[in-house]
Symmetry: D2
Amino acid sequence: MKRRLVVAVIGAGEAPRAVCKLAIALGREIARRGAVLLNGGRAGVMESAAAGARKEGGHTIGILPGHDRRDANRHIEFAIATGIGEARNAVIVASADAVIALAGEGGTLAEIGFAKKFGKPIVALDSWPEIGGLRRAGSPVDAVALALRLAKSSSRRRK
Amino acid sequence: MKRRLVVAVIGAGEAPRAVCKLAIALGREIARRGAVLLNGGRAGVMESAAAGARKEGGHTIGILPGHDRRDANRHIEFAIATGIGEARNAVIVASADAVIALAGEGGTLAEIGFAKKFGKPIVALDSWPEIGGLRRAGSPVDAVALALRLAKSSSRRRK
Amino acid sequence: MKRRLVVAVIGAGEAPRAVCKLAIALGREIARRGAVLLNGGRAGVMESAAAGARKEGGHTIGILPGHDRRDANRHIEFAIATGIGEARNAVIVASADAVIALAGEGGTLAEIGFAKKFGKPIVALDSWPEIGGLRRAGSPVDAVALALRLAKSSSRRRK
Amino acid sequence: MKRRLVVAVIGAGEAPRAVCKLAIALGREIARRGAVLLNGGRAGVMESAAAGARKEGGHTIGILPGHDRRDANRHIEFAIATGIGEARNAVIVASADAVIALAGEGGTLAEIGFAKKFGKPIVALDSWPEIGGLRRAGSPVDAVALALRLAKSSSRRRK
């Protein structure tokens, strides 16, 4: 079985409407392109991205901090209840082929740090101008296209 | 979205053929009943159970110890690369509604311990006679039926 | 700096008085022998063993499940707030040179499983007769002597 | 027993000499002030800070990514072998009362993200000008004084 590419969308658990709209668009585009959406499984950016992906029939995976799968938002198809708290941010990044970052706070920053550490491609969309070494995209469609292209070439390098 | 029930099949990474045959039968039955198979994503019991589930078109999730999703066996549809080593055994148990145990070693014993700690239903099949407090089944079909019944009544209790 | 040997004492968080007395005696003996006591940092066996070790001026380390170091019992000198929940049981075992097991429940069983998985020496004291492959001791003094001897020879083998 | 304050010094595992000199000075000052030095237990900033603290007779704790305590640098008195890989960065931050950041890369950035998430005081010394919301210090002595003051007032608030 050829496994589908996995794209993590990271960002604030409490996000303004404009950021959530970007997240929905990212989720839709990830699903349209046949990739799996993965994230932290909770509210805000995580819920919006999952909702978008499900609208297009895509698979969604949520990596939760707690023990209870019922804490996942209702657009998460497969809820992993890690029980390891915020350390689950490392799991989100390690399990993705590429990461797309929206505006966020400390948790998102930790995920960006892990993506750098693990050498995962990161695409920032309207966010994190202060952090160097990220790729930038101007729209959700461009962000997903860039993330998938980087994911493919980085997985080719590892072979 | 109503989330499907998730059943973890646990057991040795290097297992004799008879145990692997039980694992295949468990995987098939879990998929036939519409549940998701979850396990540690590697070889032995984990590979056999996933192969069985895929044969029936079921979903399979592997919770890997390392950072590289390519370490998952080829029957794992969704590979979570936790990078947290053997501590991922706690994640496997926490993410399942019920656990079915086959013969195994230390890692399987750790998972049984966590299932007791987390109050998850555990069904032992031809295994672990020395451990008290487990439910017993005489065949793969019975084991899955019992696991799903216990999972449903335990999730009802939590509501 | 030559690092001291570390002995984990594992057992129930809610333990009867007789088991706590064994834990105190184990803690005292570990400290007298110049080793460090490590455990889960909470109540019951964990608190008693730490109290014993501190009475003899030994060092005590508690590996907590939560984020708050103030959850450690008052005999823990160095409290590690892992925030990774019960998965911290793997950390307790990985960080010890040898494990001494008293009576316990699921969490203790998970730790015994990890000790087997990691190849750490395990000495059972008045406990776990149903689990094969453990070493047995008849008294706290004997248990500590055996644990330290096994720890030394196992660390010699790894060199 | 009143537990000592714990200060984490974070920064690059491969650091230029000037950064290592700052780390040594931080370690010395942390020990002189009676606090415990905690970090990731490996090379670079981690080794230098631990060396400084030991020179002044302070306690040092290393939270290692791997399973083997012998991977700790030789100035680590208490080595915790988490086995949870880079997710251990969350444990480092959660276990400290305050964090002092030197120059670093992705791993350090992840720790800064967790410190923000967990509401831990962070003092940056000659580093991370691009990250908002950190406190700044002009010298190792000032950094430690500020970190301890923030740690005390934040632990007072939690009571």
